[in-house]
């Protein structure tokens, strides 16, 4: 059949191949989307009895505060992360100075520290018995009343632990996009500062907005840090309404408002960047001739770069290490190895599966230029905007229903499957964005050529597309992995009996007001994060070459 010389026969074959493949990709995509969306839909349709008393109470007494706090935190964290991320990325792109190689990696490291652990650490440092007050009191007899457990503290911590999102994207943009512009501006006699403000910043706008959007999404759905610091936000409000007040309806109403807010932000971001896509994985560069800096300027550059690393990484790590000396005897035992293994394996399984699904859905959406597949792909990434606890309860409710009504016996409920499933719903967006940007970069040329040469879609994918986007796929796995090991609320609710991860281990001690004891699990969690980040950097470097 393949060797049919007749041209029209060939065309027919091709067409049939196309249809078949289209069906299998679309079919799988549809099934995946169905299962990813079902738990969320279950939740929203459980609003059978709309009892709005509690919601009215919340709207009157608490909602204004939730909105105000969430907006203040979002706004300032957005601005500060932008400032730090863009300035450090710019300096490292343009100039050569001492330690700049180290800074390139060091500036990403705060991503390895979950914001709630940063919260434990800084509240410990600033507390009455913390290092600062203690020193002032015992050495100088001076009583300091420091306080970080407030809204400024929340902004401080989010800023220093989330700015790498902006940094990574801005750096990759500067390296790639602005080079020719830079050179033109220089030829035309503009100074570096002028170039930055007149040429680079306007150009980088969309990329920076992309990074800041990621930061904002993290901030809005974060629960651990604001709740530990006693700052009421949307996320803590949903939790409180649902669980303490026991009012599901009101909580879901709040969740809907939050999702509306996040969708608005995403919408603005998409509009602002038009058709451009930016992501961590785009780094094809032509080497830039970096300027050497004078000693004076070098010092300024070093300070600008070292401050974020100091606050976002070195100080918290030092504090954790000093606590771990106080408590290692109580914490390290044979169970601890199991906890590490649990954390690693569940995150790996979750990250790989999320990436596989992202590839399937993203490829379908790329090949099938229709409304359905586009909408589906958007919908499946909805989980990133929903707080983890809400997803957890949706997943629970859905699988209990499946077990009871569809299968008639316990199959899924109470297993690790639920947890992995929930991770995928929550973080598919992370994997999806990375994979999608890979596909975008490759474009359709090679794919079409391959099809013309007689390969089907599936074969084309494995022989042509896959090798070309391999870097993006690995990037997707890594970023999703990093998110999952740091995840907390969902893990707490869905984990099966006797299942402990590093994050739940750290949290239990912090909840018991034994923050020193949470140091060891935190350090191990951070180490795994660092290894993963270094690996990620290496892959990016390889791609550049």
């Amino acid at each position: 059949m393949k060797k049919a010389g007749n041209k029209s026969m060939n065309l027919k074959n091709l067409k049939r191949n196309l249809n078949i493949n289209l069906d299998s990709w679309l079919f799988t995509s549809l099934i995946l989307s169905f299962f990813l969306l079902a738990p969320i839909v279950t939740l929203f349709t459980s609003l059978a009895t709309q009892n709005i008393d509690t919601f009215i109470h919340i709207a009157k007494t608490l909602l204004p505060e939730y909105i105000r706090n969430s907006l203040i935190i979002t706004l300032f964290t957005g601005l500060f992360t932008m400032g730090i991320g863009v300035s450090t990325a710019w300096i490292l792109t343009m100039y050569d100075f001492k330690f700049s190689k180290f800074f390139n990696v060091g500036l990403i490291l705060p991503l390895a520290i979950p914001s709630y652990i940063a919260g434990y650490v800084y509240s410990g440092i600033f507390s009455y018995t913390g290092i600062i007050s203690k020193t002032a009191r015992n050495l100088f007899g001076y009583n300091l009343n420091l306080d970080i457990m407030n809204i400024q503290g929340v902004i401080f911590i989010f800023t220093f632990f989330l700015y790498p999102y902006v940094f990574i994207i801005a750096r990759s943009f500067f390296l790639k996009q602005s080079l020719s512009m830079l050179e033109s501006a220089k030829v035309l006699g503009k100074s570096d500062t002028q170039t930055f403000f007149l040429v680079v910043l306007p150009l980088a706008r969309t990329a920076v907005v992309g990074g800041v959007t990621l930061v904002i999404m993290e901030v809005l759905s974060a629960f651990g840090l604001p709740s530990y610091f006693g700052v009421q936000t949307f996320s803590t409000g949903i939790f409180r309404t649902w669980l303490t007040l026991g009012d599901t309806d009101a909580a879901i109403n709040l969740a809907i408002i939050l999702m509306g807010l996040i969708f608005t932000i995403i919408f603005i971001e998409r509009k602002s960047r038009g058709r451009k896509q930016y992501s961590f994985t785009n780094t094809k560069i032509r080497p830039i001739n970096k300027k050497s800096l004078s000693t004076k300027h070098s010092i300024i550059a070093i300070i600008v770069c070292i401050v974020p690393i100091l606050f976002g990484f070195i100080i918290p790590l030092m504090q954790l290490i000093s606590w771990s000396f106080m408590t290692y005897k109580d914490v390290i035992n044979y169970k601890f190895i199991e906890v590490i293994w649990n954390t690693f394996s569940i995150a790996m399984v979750g990250a790989v599966l999320a990436t596989v699904m992202a590839v399937i859905i993203s490829n379908t959406s790329r090949l099938k230029k229709g409304k359905i597949s586009k909408t589906l792909s958007k919908l499946t990434t909805i989980g990133y905007s929903i707080p983890g606890a809400v997803i957890a309860i949706g997943v629970m409710t859905f699988f209990i229903f499946v077990d009871r009504k569809v299968l008639g016996q316990k199959v899924f409920y109470g297993t690790l499957f639920l947890m992995v499933f929930a991770y995928i719903i929550r973080y598919l967006a992370v994997a999806y964005n990375s994979v999608e940007s890979g596909f975008d970069k490759v474009g359709m040329k090679f794919h079409e050529a391959s099809k013309t040469l007689g390969y089907g879609k599936t074969k084309t994918f494995f022989k042509v597309d896959f090798p070309m986007i391999k870097g993006s796929i690995i990037g997707a796995v890594i970023l999703t992995f990093l998110e999952i090991i740091k995840e907390l609320p969902l893990t707490l609710i869905l984990r099966p009996f006797n299942f402990e991860t590093l994050s739940t281990y750290a949290k239990q001690y912090a909840d018991d007001e034994m923050v020193q004891h949470s140091a060891i699990p935190s350090i191990v969690l951070i180490l795994i994060g660092i290894i993963i980040i270094l690996f990620f950097e290496r892959i990016n470097k390889k791609k550049e070459k």
């Binding site: 009455y128 009343n145 006693g230 007040l245 408590t327 316990k410 499957f417 009996f497 239990q508």
Partner: protein, 356 residues
Amino acid sequence: MKKLKKIIPFVVLSAGLLTGCFKGKEDVKTVEEIKVPKATKELNIYTERHYDIDKELIAEFEKETGVTVNVAKAGSDELLKKLEIEGKDTPADLFITKDAARLGRAKDLGLLQPIKDKEILEAVPANIRDKDNYWTSFTYRARILAYNKDTTDPSIFSTYEDLADPKWNGKILVRSSTNSYNQALIASMIAANGEEATREWIKGLTANMARTPKGNDRDQSKAVIAGIGEVAIMNSYYLGKMIHSADPEERKVGEQIAIFFPNQKGRGTHINVSGMGITKYSKNIVNAEKFIKFFLSEKSQSRFTNENYEYPSNKNVEINGTVKSWGDFKIDDLTLSELGKNLKKGTIMADEEGWK
């Protein structure tokens, strides 16, 4: 044929995903394993407590009885929600929490069943367990007033109610009303004084606060020593923990703090319990009762008080020295079973009156 071949990988993949092919890959008890083989050799616990002492005692119980104990830990509100959603399919046999109000709520939601073997409850005074035996405490802690023993004369203290008096303006330290211990305290005030009086009390108390509520219980006592306020409302148990902390600086604070038990001339000091109840749909009731008995045994009880500085519920057990040094006190025992009913009301009230 060709068509089929192309679909196969996707079918396999989706089937794999949907049936949970990696289920059981980890060394974790899944629900099926728990249910099917030897139901009588298992006990499944949902607990909010994650102290090392609990872990050790559970291991001892396993050794003594040969029963395998599986533990799922989360916040009490999450666990209650789980029990509620799971209904008759719940794998849990025992629900353990640090809050009498949550135990009351579990009872009211129909999630618990009475403990039938009354003998095991004999050593627990009636005022620290449910009146219908749906739950029993195994330890308790008092919500006390903490002050700096060098600068404050305790004769100025009297009752919780008194703290709403304007003379305390700018002197009171207490954490957020989102904390379950404070919610239980408010619920007990409603039970004792009624809604209107409690609302006025919250208003007065909030107006007297030295700062916006923040931090945990230990932070309140540190703020007393730092001179931010004069009196902190906190749990007795944390003070014991601070006095024996791994951090020398915390020990210093702990030693400077003294304790006052409010309402001694009236209904007594509000306490909260760590308690447990058997779930309504428990499949291992016998083991659950065995476990309750074990936790209430003199051996376990003396470890709770000596290693975790809690008051033991078993009246025959000697209280730990540090804890005992704070003095005997009268317990407010009228309201413990009523806390669950007032929980939501009190929480909403605190919101409305601005106790953050």
